[in-house]
Symmetry: C2
Subunit: 385 residues, 2 copies
């Protein structure tokens, strides 16, 4: 069976890019990834691009062809994949399978979103297309509202507190301070979060990830070949994906992300490891409650114990399980780019190149990307090849 | 190397479905495909759905998860792919590679578009997202305008006539009469086409494919397994994809589709055959000139000779190369579904189940799907396994 490794990475600064377009952002990340891989454009045989709602955000579909064109990679096969906020993770998994299939040896995968060119209301409507348009968004259930329902259920069922959720954001901003590409470089306190405006009770402004422009890219290579052209290839030792109902109302439970759970269990099995073997994780914290749901669903902590674990500092840098050293989605969430940016961060961590936010002796890392309110989950586990 | 075959097919009627929604259409096609494959939902391990602009047409992204949900297939991996009008072909190729990779044995692939829920102007803008939004659509270059430029160049360079283009539409409608799922059941004459309103000169209304609602699905299976569960598996003996510049203005030639040419040559090589070995083809005739460009690009006729070949009836049913027995895109083009519907038609032809439009002794068939004005091309060659 062929194995797949990451040999190059690139990522733009996350933020409000008023002077850079969608195509400039993905070109910047893509070129950085190609240069860092030590390959040339002509070595790349196919391309996958993740973008959630480019049609709504910039009036442009056909993103795969656009990226190939921008990077001068024609006539290679170029494809856009879309699984809402898990579009980046999907691009990574698509590239992984394309190499495993034997069709290609070297594949570029990228993710990009330019979200600030439309107003906040239009952005919220576009993002609402990740849930069930007919039974949720049409009736006013925006994404903060859906996650607020999950937060309220978690509070009721397990006694999770608004302060514990606030601590997720505090920790994210603390890590973001150490990441030059973070959208925010400002420490916040639990009081700051508690005093911020309610968006959808119990979630407040500082419980939510922001609207962000940004792009990220990685170069994948068949592992035997990777070892010949790269000093430190990072091998993908598990790639898994699962789905759940699109609408929250159809779920058996509001306090468990079934797709995350299944993708995680499948990934541990595929890699032949357990949750405790993961040294660092980038997980999908689009809202503070999503952080808690993820650390439980990924089995780092028992169901219902996530809030307490965050409160006790067990997810801080160089603690029991370092969560989101990059600052996570809380410090920038250009939806289509997020899943790739997670892989970029884990790759840097395993290469020992994460500078001030380096997790000591990180040998095995995980990236966890969620689409919508949990209808898609994608997990990758990485290790030095 | 693992081989992949089609074991089940499904397709809705193409047309204006005022009483059926996006999700009802894909469920109808999906269930028909599963039933015809003789498998059960639980046998399906992953799903790829092609849809071009669901965000713009129905306010819904995250189409992979939606389809899995509608068909009761959770928690399988479900992914949307988008390559403009080649989204269906991309879904087929994605499913093909997923099985080749060894990750799955049985994969469902579908395509769907619900285009009539927005007005014609909004639909034209959404479709314009398949080209270069910044340098084309923004300045008013709609899709008929882009293909009109290609038509005018072909007329100037090779003497192709408006009447020859009209004959493409006449032939399409003639075939469509034999297909119960065609959007149109009305024979037209060259005079009808010539008298229809100009949309973008030299293209007239009857040179253009319509706005259509519809869905199609196929079930893919690893070939050895397919032979055990299906009487007549249809093997995919080539699957290829290529890209070209997004904008027409960046191309070297307006009279040759470079991506089609490359995908076709790669496909013939992969299958170990030549153009003359193809018994029946479903090709991407979004406009009459696209038909002529395709029969030249796929090497059925020499460059510049396509118009003459159509005029001489060489692309009619049971002639030199039977083109679009289904009626093609001219008889219905729900963009995301088109690439899958082409595979459905070729599968029926090779199974000998195409009834009145059956091509005699069809042994090898081709499906050719184009995205935008040619920035993506995908070719599949099928044969009885």
């Amino acid at each position: 069976m062929r194995s797949v490794s990451i040999i190059g990475i690139g990522c733009t600064k996350f933020g409000e890019h008023w002077e850079k377009s969608f195509r400039q952002l993905i070109a910047e990340a893509g070129i950085e990834a190609i240069l860092s891989a030590g390959v040339e454009g002509k070595d790349i045989e196919a391309l996958y691009g993740g973008s959630m709602a480019s049609g709504r955000f910039i009036g442009q579909e056909h993103i795969g062809a656009l990226i190939a064109d921008q990077l001068g990679l024609n006539p290679i096969a170029a494809t856009r994949v879309e699984n809402a906020c898990a579009s980046g993770g999907t691009a990574l998994r698509s590239g992984y399978m394309a190499i495993k299939s034997g069709e290609y040896d070297v594949v570029a995968v990228g993710g990009v979103e330019k979200m600030t060119d439309v107003g906040v209301e239009q952005a919220a409507i576009a993002l609402g297309g990740a849930g069930d348009q007919e039974t949720e968004l049409f009736h006013g259930a925006s994404f903060p509202a859906l996650y607020a329902l999950m937060a309220r259920a978690h509070m009721t069922e397990f006694g999770t507190t608004e302060e514990q959720m606030a601590m997720c954001s505090v920790q994210a901003h603390k890590n973001g301070m150490l990441n030059p590409k973070s959208q925010f470089h400002r420490e916040i306190t639990v009081e700051d979060v508690m005093r911020s405006s309610y968006i959808a009770s119990p979630l407040k402004l500082l419980d939510c990830s922001p609207i962000t422009d940004g792009a990220a890219a990685v170069i994948l290579c068949e592992t035997e070949k990777a070892k010949k052209i790269c000093e430190q290839p990072i091998e993908i030792i598990a790639s898994t994906q699962a789905s759940d109902t699109l609408a929250l109302a159809s779920r058996k439970s509001l306090t468990e992300m079934a797709a995350t759970k299944k993708a995680a269990l499948d990934a541990y099995k595929q890699a032949g490891i357990e949750a405790k073997d993961i040294d660092v994780v980038e997980l999908h914290d689009c809202f503070s409650i999503a952080n808690i749901l993820a650390i439980e669903g990924l089995e780092f902590f028992k169901k219902g114990k996530g809030g307490k674990a965050v409160e006790e500092g067990k997810t801080a840098l160089n603690s029991e399980i370092p969560v989101n050293p990059s600052g996570g989605l809380k410090c920038g969430h250009p939806v289509g780019a997020t899943g790739i940016k997670q892989a970029v961060e884990i790759t840097e961590q395993l290469m020992g190149k994460a500078n001030k936010r380096q997790v000591k002796d990180a040998k095995i890392g995980m990236a966890h990307n969620v689409g919508g309110s949990g209808a898609t989950a994608i997990v990758h586990i990485l290790r030095k090849a």
